[in-house]
Amino acid sequence: MSQEFTIDDLKRILLEGAGADEGVDLDSDILDTDFEELGYESLALLETGGRIEREYGVSFDDDTLAENRTPRALVATVNALLKDAVGV
């Protein structure tokens, strides 16, 4: 069974783990907006990353969160990890 990680999953986890800044609408098109601009600093991303790892059974490298600066990039990376896990 292959599981997919979507932008909606990411939004839900961002909200649960770190909330949302006032003045940031997560329902607008945020796919290519830098996390920093969305109000998520490194600690918020660490919390978000930890939640994704727990829930989806994937494991991030130390650099995963630093290198994937936008929701689109992070969603793609998580899906690549999920695919790898299924492929094994």
């Binding site: 783990g17 770190a18 909330g19 949302a20 600690l43 790892e53």
Partner: protein
């Protein structure tokens, strides 16, 4: 430099009320806010009563970004900070960011947050621990979060000296203003009514085990048998008096006129406890005589030995029965770092109204020769008040608050 430092804004959250008006409306009439613990099941513990803040929903006041990263005490402190700004008629951006700082006291940090993360650590594994545990439990977190939220980048810090810390923070804030800061937030909040906080306090051996909310916390009473803990505290905006008048501040509650702090001698040394010296130091710092003080807000530990030490110190400085003494914290329980800032609030409101709030439920023991204001509030002109606070392990602090002219 000895600039006058005045209180120009107040944010208060206690079991007796949220905001100055609520708190005072309850306090002036002696409304009891001690009751059975509801925040967790205390049935299995020897102490079952607390002063809890009900009807506080952080989500109504704070952005969602702050909720996952804050302990209850920090949420209370942040909301109180917002109230204090509003009360002072000043907005964070009105004053240059490096001219504003935050000095708070904390006795236990974010215990409840820490407890939840420890539960996850041992129950589910380290990967379940929140990244925010790195700071959410920490003593300095209230100062940090207030500073970040309001862009206050001047001198800031935290003092940790249990209940005395609430006064020590005010003294440190006064120092920073005298060194040139324009505005410093000061005060303290604690909120550790959770099992971990409970057992930590029980270990001190001073908590009351009485289950009657009206008989559990009775400082200076023949039946004194310990204290009841509470949650909450107060934040004060302190400013240089001239700067405050310069910006047109309208709410000048009073002046932080004097401060003294001492440490008790080693137990068994036979030397006198340090509280009397702290009072004398605070009076000297304020340039006042004992006769100038119109009311003393007692630390009111609620155990016979500590009550004896406090009554003796007050009688030694002021003379037996020569100054009204009160402990409105009998309504809320002891708020640790939050207690003394709340007493400072009560002191300036007593000045404003000419009314000394009562020590509730207590019948004064004939052992103590102090003029304890029991029963109902006592009308009296109040121009200068002394606030006392002691911390577990030997801290003694005293602050003199004087009416602003």
């Amino acid at each position: 430099m000895t600039a006058k430092v005045v209180i120009t804004g107040i944010g208060v959250a206690t079991p007796n009320g949220l905001g100055v008006d609520d708190y005072w409306a309850a306090t002036r009439v002696g409304k009891n806010a001690i009751g059975p613990v509801t925040r967790f099941d205390a049935a299995q513990y020897p102490s079952k009563l607390a002063g809890e803040i009900h009807d506080f929903t952080a989500e109504d006041h704070l952005p969602s970004r702050l909720i996952p990263q804050t302990d209850r005490m920090t949420r209370l402190a942040l909301v109180a900070a917002d109230c204090a700004f509003e009360d002072a008629g000043v907005k964070p951006g009105d004053i240059p960011e490096f001219d504003m700082g935050v000095v708070t006291a904390s006795a236990s940090g974010g215990f409840e947050f820490g407890q939840n993360e420890l539960k996850k650590l041992w129950g589910q594994g380290s990967q379940y621990v929140s990244a925010y545990q790195s700071f959410a439990w920490f003593y300095a977190v209230n100062s940090g979060q207030i500073s970040i939220r309001n862009g206050m980048r001047g001198p800031s810090g935290v003092v940790v000296s249990d209940q005395a810390g609430g006064l020590d923070a005010i003294a440190q804030a006064r120092r920073q203003i005298r060194k040139g800061s324009k505005l410093i937030f000061s005060g303290g909040f604690d909120a550790s009514i959770c099992p971990w906080g409970w057992v930590a306090q029980l270990a001190g051996g001073l908590m009351s085990t009485d289950e009657n909310p009206e008989r559990a916390y009775l400082p200076f009473d023949p039946d004194a048998n310990g204290y009841v803990p509470g949650e909450g505290g107060a934040l004060l905006i302190l400013e240089d008096a001239e700067a405050a008048r310069g910006r047109g501040a309208t709410n000048i509650y009073g002046e932080i006129a004097g401060y003294g702090a001492t440490f008790d001698p080693k137990p068994g040394s036979g030397r006198e406890p340090g509280l009397r010296r702290a009072i004398e130091a605070a009076l000297a710092d304020a340039g006042l005589e004992a006769g100038d003080i119109d009311v003393v807000f007692a630390d009111a530990a609620g155990t016979p030995e500590l009550d004896r030490i406090e009554a003796d110190a007050i009688s030694a400085v002021f003379g037996p029965g020569r100054v009204p003494v009160t402990a409105p914290k009998t309504m809320t329980g002891r708020l640790y770092s939050g207690a003394a800032p709340v007493d400072v609030v009560a002191a300036v409101l007593a000045m404003r109204e000419g009314l000394i709030p009562p020590t509730t439920n207590v019948t004064l023991s004939p052992e103590y020769d102090i003029d304890l204001v029991t029963g109902t509030a006592r009308p009296a002109p109040v121009r200068a008040a002394l606030v006392l606070a002691r911390g577990y392990g030997g801290f003694n602090s005293a602050v003199v608050v004087r009416a602003a002219d």
